[in-house]
């Protein structure tokens, strides 16, 4: 059944005179795993940053459960607490241990008691396989481990939807797998996810919906089987041909 969590309506973003996103329109329903694919510079990451209000939109609106979050009536911080984000460069807090990274948001933003926050942090760290490392600092663990902690940190806020901004692009090839495995297990838990990715296998096999972007517009979207086997647009076809033959 249709149950839209996020609706992006006529979103445009310009940096100076450079139009990065042009009239973007799409919907994320509960339980969807949407992959956004496309060439570098097509505006995928900017779109995700706009959705999390890290960038201000030039025009358009973002509806969260039908309520526009861009107009200042909705508190941006409260909205962000429900919309998790995982960054390409992890952005773990360098001054805190792994455990504290996963607790601080719960304690200070959601006002959860320390013991409960700790339990919940441990639960999610365990889920991503990082529970043994709770006393480590971000500088002391590998890229893949950092990204898994970052996912646990986002999950610990118990968000309704999780945004991933190229979560494996900054990782060494041998670490990509461990992060993708975590994401796959989240997908099988019916977590709603919006993933900007260059991992075509993930987009094809795990996601329920694929959005292909080119030059700041959504060129084509649909079921992964259709996009990957029988794309309508020429641009989609040539992009997939290029990237899958690499």
């Amino acid at each position: 059944m249709e149950n839209p969590i996020l609706e992006v309506r006529h979103l445009s973003k310009t940096f100076g005179t450079n139009a990065v996103l042009k009239d973007i329109d799409f919907t994320v329903n509960k339980g969807d795993v949407t992959s956004i694919i496309g060439a570098s510079g097509s505006g995928k990451s900017t779109l995700l940053r706009c959705i999390n209000l890290l960038e201000t939109l030039t025009t358009g609106e973002i509806l969260y459960h039908g309520q526009d979050v861009t107009k200042g009536k909705v508190n941006a911080s409260e909205y962000r607490a429900k919309v998790g984000m995982v960054f390409q460069s992890f952005n773990l807090f360098n001054n805190m241990t792994v455990l504290k990274n996963c607790m601080i948001g719960q304690e200070k933003v959601s006002h959860i008691k320390k013991e409960e926050a700790r339990d919940r942090a441990l639960y999610y760290l365990n889920k991503v396989g990082m529970a043994p490392y709770i006393n480590a600092r971000p500088a002391q663990i590998s890229g893949g481990q950092k990204q898994r902690v970052a996912i646990a940190r986002a999950l610990a806020m118990e968000p309704e939807i999780l945004l991933f901004d190229e979560p494996t692009s900054a990782l060494d090839p041998e670490m990509v797998g461990e992060v993708l495995d975590v994401m796959k297990s989240l997908a099988s838990d019916k977590m709603t996810m919006l993933v900007v990715t260059h991992e075509m296998a993930f987009a094809r096999d795990v996601s329920t919906h694929v959005v292909y972007m080119a030059d700041g517009v959504i060129e084509e979207e649909g079921l992964p089987e259709k996009i990957f086997t029988n794309p309508e647009s020429l641009s989609t076809r040539s992009f997939l041909k290029r990237i899958l033959n690499e």
């Binding site: 960054f87 601080i104 339990d119 600092r137």
Partner: protein, 275 residues
């Protein structure tokens, strides 16, 4: 010659030792208190100066923030750009001139002058320290729902403090030495003792030697302590792995299969069998 010098110093110490020690104590107290207050001022200015505002914010907020930035910049330029000895004179004699009230306590005015002087230097250090933190730290904080102040307090400032600790140390050492200019308004610090004693007994060189050695000892001690603090703030260089099973139990997520025995049974069995 050296023997002569040592015997002079000995005589000075015998007669005025306690005065010199009081001077050292006064210098240290003034430098420490003023550096701490200066840090607070510096952090306040640095934080206020880095509050972001954009074209989407309302006009009052933009105006206020711009005004704050201008005021802080003026403060920094004035107190960084004039000699502290002059600032001391200016404030000490300026206040009675305009308001007819003199400072009753030389300590108050000394701490005030050195603090705002230090604050002017620290303001720029703090601003630089905040700007040197990767913007991703801010975005990470915002992404889990922190507002600007929470992100500052829990994520940015702790890292800033660690990064600018060498700067704070620099300022502290400068203050230990430069509080000597406060003799101009009659503050009896370590250097003021030299002026007083050598004026009384005409032993300029032996007294100056004592001062040199004294100041050097103070600053060496200060830099030693600061390095200790820096090391402590850097945190542990290693970490211990935590036994996963125990963790899962404490996390309250470990649900035993109904037909399985308690995990402690195995241990009990070992005990029963006398292992």
């Amino acid at each position: 010659m050296l023997i002569q010098l040592f015997s002079d110093i000995g005589k000075l110490w015998e007669k005025y030792g306690s005065v010199y020690l009081t001077g050292i104590a006064n210098t240290l107290i003034l430098a420490t208190v003023a550096t701490l207050i200066g840090c607070v001022i510096g952090f306040l200015c640095g934080i206020l100066k880095t509050i972001p505002y954009g074209p989407n914010d309302n006009i009052i907020k933009r105006f206020l923030l711009r005004l704050i930035r201008i005021i802080i910049q003026a403060y920094v330029e004035v107190f960084r750009g004039t000699p502290m000895i002059l600032q001391a004179v200016f404030i000490y004699y300026g206040l009675p001139y305009f308001f007819g009230v003199a400072f009753k306590d030389i300590w108050t005015v000394s701490i005030l002058v050195v603090s705002i002087n230090t604050g002017a230097y620290m303001a720029e250090s703090v601003r630089g320290g905040i700007m040197s933190i990767d913007v991703g730290q801010f975005e990470g904080a915002k992404a889990i729902g922190m507002n600007h102040w929470q992100a500052m307090l829990y994520v940015i400032l702790p890292q800033t403090l660690r990064n600018i600790l060498p700067q704070i140390g620099n300022n502290y050492i400068i203050n230990v030495k430069d509080t000597s200019v406060m003799f101009i308004i009659g503050f009896s610090d370590f250097f003021a003792v030299h002026k007083m004693v050598s004026g009384a007994v005409f032993k300029y060189f032996p007294s100056a030697t004592m001062e040199m050695v004294g100041y050097l000892c103070l600053t060496l001690l200060a830099s030693f302590l600061l390095r200790k603090i820096e090391k402590k703030m850097a945190g542990k260089s290693n970490y211990e792995l935590v036994n996963t099973d125990q963790l899962v139990m404490t996390a309250g997520t470990y649900s035993l299969p109904k037909d399985a025995a308690s995990p402690f049974d195995e241990v009990n069995k070992d005990i029963r069998e006398g292992k």
